[in-house]
Structure formats: C-alpha cells, structure tokens
Assembly symmetry: C2
Homo-oligomer: 378 residues x 2
C-alpha cells in the first residue's frame, strides 16, 4: 500500500472514525483503525464493537486530486498514535507506505515515522445489514429528534433496555421514546416513505449521542437500515453502525395521564432560567429539588431551600393558569433537561395532582412530550 | 450592610479573588470570601492561607456610580455559591443586604436569594507587610519573567524549597531562578530603583502561577514588597499576598558549565516542533526521551523510538554547528518547556559532552538561560 493524501482531508476522516474507537476495549485490534485503499479512494474504519464508523475519502473530489494512489492495500494502525502524528505533521502533504511485516511509514517534509502496524485481515468485518426496514430522514430533523429524547435514557445498568431509546414505526409515524422511570421524553416524526410493516428497536443512548457528533447539520437525508441486531445510519461518505439493545421495551402508554386539573402556559426560557438559579441552592442537598407554586394573578413562584446555605424564591409571570391551585416539587435537573428540548418556546405544563406525573408540551404542536414524576417532600 | 452594584463589575472582582479560594482548605471560614463595604467602595478578600487576594471596587469610577451605598458593613459568604449566584442573576442591577444573624439577601429582578453568612470578624487579617524591600516592575515584564522560570520548579515535596522560584536582588539586577535538579531556568532583569541592600527570597511556584492569571497584560508598574515571611504584589485595584518558602535555596552557580565543546545555532521554533513530533513516540515509554545528533552540513537529526510502536526521525537545518560532533539524549518535555521560554526566536545550544548539562540562550541576549541535564541511554 502506498499513497499521498492531503493532511487536512485525512484529519477530517480520522476525526469522525476516532469517535468509535475506545481506549478501554478488551479486543486489542480495536485500539487500531483500519485503512482500505482502493482505486476509488480510502476507507477508514474504527469500532468499539458496539459502534462502528466507516468514512470514505474519494481519490478525486470535484475535479481535485485528494489522494495519489501508487499501490492499493490494507493496514491497521494504532488509532490514537496515528491520529496525533497526522495532526502534528509539518506539511499538508502526507505520504503513507506499508511494506513487509506491516511496517507503516509516514512521511511529511523532513519528518519520517515508522510504525508497527497490524494485519488488516484480523480486523472484524462490518456488520451485515440487509435493507429490511429502510427509510430516510433529513439530517437536522434526525439530530433534533435525538437531542429531544436521548437525555432521558437510564444511566443505570439494572434494566439495560432503558439505557436505549425506543424507536417505533407505526401508523405512518416514527415515535422515539426514552425513559429512566423518573421522567420520559417522547418525539413523534411524520415521515414520507416509511416502511409499510410496523417495527420497533431499541438503540443505545450512547450510540445516538456519538451519531449526533458525526452527522453534519444539513437538510441532506440520512438513510436508516434496521435488522434484528444492528442499525445503520448512512450519509454522504459516512457509515455509522450500532448494535441494538435486546429485551422488551416496557409499555409506557399508561404512564401518561389523560386528564388534568391544572394547566400553566408560560415562556419556557424564563422558567428554565429561574429553575437554573433555584437549583444552585437545591444542588447542595443530595436530591436537587425545586418547588413550583401557583399564586394569584397568573404568577408562579419557583423556590428552593437548603438548611445549610439558605433559600431562594423567584416569581414568573405566566401567560395563563387554568384549573386548581398547584404546589409541586420535582428534580431541577429533570425539569431543565425537559425544558431545553423545547428550545425556549412557549410551553404548556399539565398537572393532575402534586403526587402524579405531569407533562410538558409546546403550545404550538404535540410533536414533543416530556413527562416528569414529581417528588414527595412532606 | 446594604448596597447596589453593577453585576458585571462585581463579577470582575470576584473572578480575581476566587483564584485564592480553595475548596480543599482545612479552615472552614476560608471557603468564604469577605466583603468590606466602606464609603469609598467595596473590598473583596479571598485566601487559602498561602495566597491572599484582595480587590477593591471604587464606589465611583470615571464619574460613573458603580456602587450605591446605603449602609457600610462587613460579611463573609460562601465563595463558590455566591459567585455562581451572581453569575446567573437575571439583571445587571444587584442589591445586597445583610441584616441580623449575618443573613445575606441578594436581589435582582424578581429573584431573591437568602444566604446564611458568617461573621467577618472571624476572617483572618491581611498579612502585615512593611515596605522593607520595595521595588516595582512593569506588569508585562513581570509576567514574562514568571513564565520563563516557574515551569522548572520541582513538583516533589521532598525538598520543599525547590517548589519555589528563587528571587535575588544583587548587583543592581533581579535574578529569578528555578530548578528541580534535572533542569534549571534563570532570568535576569535589570531594573531601575532596586532596593540598595541585597536580599533573596523563595516564592512558591503555585503563587506565581496564580499571580500571572490575576495581573492584566500592560506596561503598568507592579509594586513588590518583601518581608521575611511574605511578599505583596500590588497593582491598580489588586493586592496579591503570598507566603514565602523557608529554607536555604541551594547554590546553583557551579551547575552551569563555563566552557563548551559544541555550539549549535538554529531556529528555536523548528526545533520545538520537531521535538514535539518525536515525543509522540517517546511518550509511550516511561521516560519520554529524544535524541539529538549532529550530522554533516549543519544538519541535526531529532529521533526517538519505542520498541512497541516504532521510530521517528527528522532532520533540521541549523544556522551553524561549531566544535565537536554531538549525540545526546534528553527529556522531550524539559526541552520543549525550555524552548517555549524563548518564544520562537533563534537560539544557541552549548554542549560540554553527552553526559554533561547543556545550556540554551537566545542568540540576541543572555537574559534567559535554560539548562538541561541529559539522560544516559546506553
């Protein structure tokens, strides 16, 4: 294998692939990244066995020669070391050559590195994905859908299936839902050309967080393919594979209340900032609890106290308060996470009682639903 | 105590003082900061007992009213909490009021915090500094002098005096010197109006690093006052106190060789970058060693190898190589630290032999000297 490549273009590709490489892997070859040089261009693959990312750098892009190929071939090199070397090379022209015993030479300016590579035939193959359940979604819609749900996955391994986001295609809609049993985030997306048969999968939250870092903000479609064990997200130049979580995702439909005693409509951003301030004191206690109280004249009060440090209270002018008076305590963190999903728009909070889960919606549409279980404080 | 203050001006003051506050202190009141409100303005003090920083915010600055004072007074409040609260307040107008039992009220917009304060009379007094050995130095010269020496202090507590920088006034010069016994950094500064009598002190490296964060880049003078136990750095609006280290600083004058067998003159920046690259492989080994070899034609080679990972070599064109051929091994980290002190100018490296300390100077002047003890590699 021998080729010349522009350093900045190689770094872009490495940057994506490195997100799949973990230094904590128990499979030694996965500390490496695989290069496959073909006549068309260079494939770079990284994996931690849960996530696999492959990028492709075309030899020629828009009439510009990005890679000069002298001899095709494959190699695996230590990922972190290779990435740091490329980052620090003195010139933008890089020559990479592999000869006997996987010796890998990197040349740039007057600098020359000789690395001990590994045999690419020992590197795991890409997951085999049939186009069973295939559909596509614009990149920016996919990214916001992930952002609005993934924070609510469980971080505890006691019920592994809750560490993932439940994706379900049903009645012409994609529904993404996450819950850690203290709060729940749900996002519905209406898509054209969804697969006809219903299906549901659970995608690890960690995979979706990494996916969001790899996908560029754009309206370009991301093609999604599902099998029983794997999901593949495919964009221009990038393949992102994730394993799926096994086990049945719990039925959450009965968690969501259907009738309400109090409805508060207000500016989500003002509420977020007030809770952020109140949580400064709430954080000192272990539970991080703030209290919301409806007062007269469409005013609500956010308050918190810590016996050691002091108290805080703040009034917010709501747009409207309908129904019974309300006094309820909840986790400041869960509330802030939920409010951030609405991006600062006006929101509607619906309560059934101080001990019952309450829900948040945008006043504009019902695409996003956030549910929070309150905390008993007396 | 009761006053109104502009939030951004208060935050600036807090930002400086917080650098002295440690969460690891064993003296509970030092987790707090002290406020002294006088008719002239607000003094804010923070301390970890090694370093004490006091800032002063004038009530009126350039004809603008920064503080509206209703009632003078003093209070100590929990530093980290107070700072975070001020940072997150909803408006730029802040009212602070202390009433019975040190209850401290912070009001801004519709937000109101009530903190449990501490009695300011329990807060340690500022160190008592006489103007014994007083001189001044422009802020930017002070900052570069610190930067060029402080990195060489010892991080080991086995000889505590080596964790400080030795400052000595002698023959009309200020000499600042640090060594961890593997390398040495020395900076000489010629100053007008130095104290007439000679004196020497050892200032903790940690204090000088914090001082450099507090002093603004400018050519304004910093007034320096020394006693046996304390040093005070005084600028417009800021007092920075540090305790001094006890014990005799070793005589280092005999460490510095006086005659040399090989002198290499070259671009310090090119050498720094080559060593940075070579150290990528050197770092994999515990010792982080790179090798410098003089070749013919004014070329030097920087190289390094790691049995597990591979090798690297790079040639650099020197301006001149005088004297004997040289092959020497040293710590990449020490060499990079030393080269950074010269800010990328052309430098001169003088060697006495592969086993003897070597020194670096700027080709322009001798104000900075860096010395490195080589490593035996065979």
């Amino acid at each position: 294998m021998k080729f010349e490549i522009k350093r900045d273009r190689l770094l872009d590709g490495l940057n994506d692939v490195m997100k799949a490489v973990s230094s904590k892997t128990t499979i030694p070859i996965l500390t490496g990244i695989k290069f496959d040089l073909t006549t068309a261009g260079l494939y770079i693959t990284g994996s931690d066995s849960d996530i696999t990312i492959q990028t492709f750098i075309k030899a020629e892009e828009n009439g510009e020669q990005v890679i000069n190929i002298f001899e095709n071939g494959t190699i695996v090199v230590q990922a972190r070391m290779f990435n740091e070397i490329i980052r620090k090379l003195p010139t933008n022209a890089v020559e990479i050559e592999v000869n006997g015993q996987n010796r890998t030479h990197i040349r740039s300016g007057k600098s020359e590195f000789h690395l001990i590579g590994l045999d690419a035939s020992d590197y795991p193959l890409l997951p085999d994905i049939q186009d069973d359940h295939q559909f596509s979604i614009p990149a920016d819609l996919l990214k916001s859908t992930i952002r609005e749900t993934v924070f609510a996955v469980s971080t505890s391994e006691s019920r592994p299936v809750l560490t993932g986001v439940h994706w379900q295609v049903k009645s012409g809609e994609l529904e993404c839902l996450a819950t850690d049993s203290h709060r729940l985030a749900r996002r519905k997306v209406t898509l054209q050309q969804l697969p006809e048969e219903e299906f549901k999968v659970v995608i690890p939250g960690k995979s979706l967080i990494e996916l969001n870092k790899v996908i560029a903000d754009s309206s370009q479609p991301v093609h999604i393919m599902m099998t029983q064990q794997q999901v593949l997200f495919k964009t221009e130049g990038i393949l992102f594979y994730s394993r799926l979580l096994e086990g049945n995702y719990p039925d959450t439909s009965r968690l969501i209340p259907s009738d309400y005693n109090t409805t508060i409509t207000l500016d989500g951003k003002a509420l977020l900032q007030a809770i952020d301030r109140a949580s400064l004191l709430a954080r000192e206690e272990r539970n991080n609890i703030v209290q919301l109280t409806s007062l007269g004249g469409n005013i609500i009060e956010i308050s918190s106290s810590s016996p050691e440090v002091g108290q805080v209270e703040e009034e917010i002018q709501a747009t409207s308060i309908e129904g019974e008076e309300m006094k309820i305590s909840f986790s400041a963190k869960y509330m802030m996470d939920a409010l951030k999903a609405f991006g600062g728009h006006d929101i509607k909070i619906q309560f059934t009682g101080a001990m019952r889960p309450f829900i948040l919606n945008s006043v504009h549409d019902k695409a996003i639903l956030q549910l929070i279980v309150p905390v008993r404080t007396y």
